[in-house]
């Protein structure tokens, strides 16, 4: 945690040094973060469970060689699945960083407003 001597907590906001989070701004970003995480999560689980589903029911996926001995199933599980994971993790991290930035801008606006009001 941060420097406790510079941190104060009030009813609806948290302050660490010059930096403030309000429950409203955190809730706003939380909802955006939740949407982002659960959207990516839905894609991840759809693909991850789609692989065994295809292995069970789609013969063209698991039994037809497409390159040497590679079936689509083998190629995806041994190589493409990892590329999918890397792309997901990278784009998700970038978008989550942007959300953090949104909260930062929002918090600075709140702090500036509070300063003007004295």
């Amino acid at each position: 945690m941060g420097d406790a001597t510079e941190s104060t907590v009030s009813g609806v906001q948290v302050q660490h040094g010059d930096h403030i989070d309000t429950i409203e701004s955190v809730d706003f970003v939380f909802r955006a973060q939740r949407k982002l995480s659960f959207t990516y999560g839905a894609i991840f689980f759809a693909v991850t469970l789609g692989i065994p589903a295809s292995s069970v029911w789609w013969k063209g996926w698991y039994a037809t060689p497409i390159w040497g001995g590679f079936t689509a199933n083998y190629l995806f599980v041994s190589l493409l699945y990892y590329i999918f994971l890397w792309a997901m993790a990278w784009t998700y991290s970038k978008q989550a960083d942007k959300l953090d930035l949104t909260l930062e801008v929002m918090a600075e606006e709140i702090a500036a407003k509070a300063g003007k009001e004295g």
Partner: protein, 610 residues
């Protein structure tokens, strides 16, 4: 064991000890001992997490699984990697932002009761023990295979368990999280180097991936098994045929003549290795080819295995603890991305090694070569021996030495993380909170080190007990099975609590406590029933028989725990009084901005003098 391999393994051990002694100078506070001062950068942390995660089960077991089972072995590897997506999407940054030291701290801070902290501590210790058991068993078996001799009058298995325990207790106790982190970084890159070298040597010796896969898939997979003469000649109750009859359909007359010799000797307990036809568990009417699914998993297990690994990864306390060593939530996400790159690369390479082993070993034996590992019909009897065997064939003693050191590095790095997690549960969560809250920093660190020693001895006892209970005979792939159990316990106990605690404000303390309780003891209960069923103590009928047959209990216990949390929380409705502040602590960034402004988020000072 060859001299070069001994030199490389001893060199690895000495280097490990030297790193710990170096780190000791920088371990003065509990934050240093448990969290490396929270100054580990994303790349370093990702390397350490990867070292933590890739145990002997991954280094030796994944290539072995692919060698023996083809595509189902590759799918097993993919499940391990997929688990980190759950971590990055739902847990990593929130856990780090919340701060603190351990998962139990998160539970206490989020829900505000000693009861939930203590049950979380219990869950951490039990999960760590479940994960430590296969590492200790791996230490004993790897020592038996690679060294082959005991020391101080002990048998090889016991020697492996005792030596690894002694080294681990020393280096974790002396170096703390900083020493463990440094060691895990080094150990991860060593085992990655070993895996890359195997694959490079395979391609250098003419391996062609698509062609080798086509060649391996021309005929059905052949299983190998070491059986007693009694079992080999026992007729099946339904078909009246014996395993001997089945082996005769696969093995050559010359190979069968050797089996006949053993049978003719008259010792019914004598063991003999045979090759047997395989069955396709997924598409029963199809031959089981290498490039098709179905050798290990039926349709239910194709789903349940991957869900067990994906959900279980986020419940491993030694992995979760590492997220607290990041300097910020964003850094925690970046660490996880790099973990996915590192372990993804590893899991792309391991199946190549497994596939390459089929052709190279068969050709080597066909051309009159000999190998130390037991083999039949051109195949290894124990697939877990594929890595050292392939290394010796492709690169001689040097490459085998590199792989042998890689196997020990994989065990050391995982055991190190588990010891730190268990020590923090005992030393930080119990001693510092309940026994002596006013203890000096020095005393706290001493207690942490004592906890490392205590837990290491406990793990050693379990490692030594496994063969005595006959578990190694009951389960053909015991290391992989025990790793899956650890994933099940952690995934059922922690992940529902973490997911609801982070993403649902309405989660109450009673709901979370009940969820942990149900998930933890539900998973352990099903695992015990599975063990008892496998040992023949309980039958396969009724509800107990059904539960005992569940190979991957997390598919059952995870939703049960989640539902328990939701239902009890709804019925309870008593939220913590300061729930808004807690919410802002999990999802707000004021603290991180403050640290950033004052340069407190900087990394690279893990070894700064104070």
């Amino acid at each position: 064991m060859n001299t070069i391999a001994i030199v490389l393994v001893v060199g690895l051990i000495l280097f490990t000890i030297a790193l710990s002694i170096f780190s000791r100078r920088f371990t003065r506070t509990t934050a240093d001992f448990y969290l490396a001062g929270r100054k580990v950068g994303s790349f370093s942390n990702a390397s350490a997490i990867s070292g933590d995660y890739l145990s002997a089960a991954s280094f030796l077991g994944v290539a072995g699984a692919v060698y023996a089972s083809g595509l189902d072995g590759v799918w097993y590897a993919a499940g391990f990697a997929g688990g980190f997506m759950v971590v990055v999407l739902f847990i990593a940054s929130a856990l780090r932002r919340f701060g603190e030291y351990t998962v139990a701290d998160f539970a206490f801070g989020r829900f505000g009761s000693n009861r939930i902290r203590l049950i979380t501590v219990l869950a951490v210790l039990l999960t760590s023990l479940f994960y430590m058991a296969p590492q200790m068993f791996g230490a004993g078996t790897t020592w038996s295979v690679l060294v082959g001799k005991g020391i101080f009058g002990m048998d090889p298995y016991t020697s492996g368990v005792v030596v690894v325990t002694a080294i681990m207790a020393f280096y974790v106790g002396v170096g703390g999280m900083k020493g463990t982190t440094l060691n895990q970084i080094f150990q991860f890159w060593w085992l990655m180097f070993a895996m890359i070298m195997i694959v490079v040597f395979a391609f250098g010796n003419g391996f062609n991936y698509p062609q080798a896969l086509a060649d391996a898939s021309k005929t059905p997979i052949v299983n190998t098994k070491s059986m007693t003469v009694a079992d080999l000649t026992k007729p099946d109750a339904k078909t009246g045929k014996t395993p001997y009859d089945a082996a005769a359909t696969i093995m050559t007359p010359a190979e069968m003549a050797k089996v006949d010799e053993v049978i003719a000797a008259g010792d019914t307990k004598a063991k003999v290795a045979v090759a047997l036809p395989s069955k396709n568990k997924l598409h029963e009417l199809r031959d089981q080819l290498f490039n098709e699914p179905g050798h290990r998993y039926n349709s239910f297990d194709q789903f349940s295995m991957v869900l067990a690994l994906v959900l279980g990864t986020a419940g491993l306390p030694h992995i979760l603890n590492r997220y607290y060593t990041n300097p910020s939530g964003a850094a925690a996400r970046r660490s996880t991305f790099w973990v996915l790159v590192f372990i993804g690369t590893f899991y792309i390479l391991a199946p190549i090694a497994g596939l390459a082993g089929i052709g190279f070993i068969k050709d080597y034996l066909a051309n009159g070569g000999t190998i130390a590992a037991a083999n039949v019909h051109g195949l290894l009897v124990k697939p877990d021996q594929i890595m050292p065997t392939l290394a010796e064939i492709l690169g001689g003693q040097w490459l085998m030495g590199i792989v042998a050191a890689g196997a020990f590095a994989a065990m050391f790095s995982t055991i190190g993380g588990l010891l730190i997690a268990a020590a923090s549960a005992i030393g930080h969560d119990v001693f510092e909170k309940y026994i002596d809250p006013n203890a000096s920093e020095r005393k706290r660190v001493i207690v942490g080190k004592s906890a490392v020693l205590f837990f290491a001895l406990l793990a050693m006892g379990i490692g030594l007990a496994i063969p005595k209970f006959g578990l190694d005979q009951a389960y053909p792939a015991l290391i992989a099975m025990m790793v899956t159990w650890a994933f099940a316990v952690g995934g059922s106990a922690f992940v529902p609590m973490l997911l609801t605690g982070i993403w649902w404000k309405g989660t109450t303390e009673r709901g979370a406590t009940a969820g942990i309780f149900v998930g933890l003891f539900g998973a352990i209960g099903i695992i015990l029933m599975n063990i008892l069923q496998t040992l023949g103590v309980i039958g396969k009928d009724g509800i107990i028989g059904f539960l005992g047959s569940l190979t991957f209990p997390v598919l059952f216990t995870f939703p049960l725990s989640l539902l328990t949390i939701i239902i009890v929380s709804k019925l309870d409705g008593e939220l913590p009084k300061n729930v808004d502040q807690i919410w802002m602590r999990i999802h707000g960034t004021a603290n991180e901005r403050h640290e950033k402004q004052h340069g407190l988020d900087k990394v690279g000072t893990m070894f700064a003098k104070k």
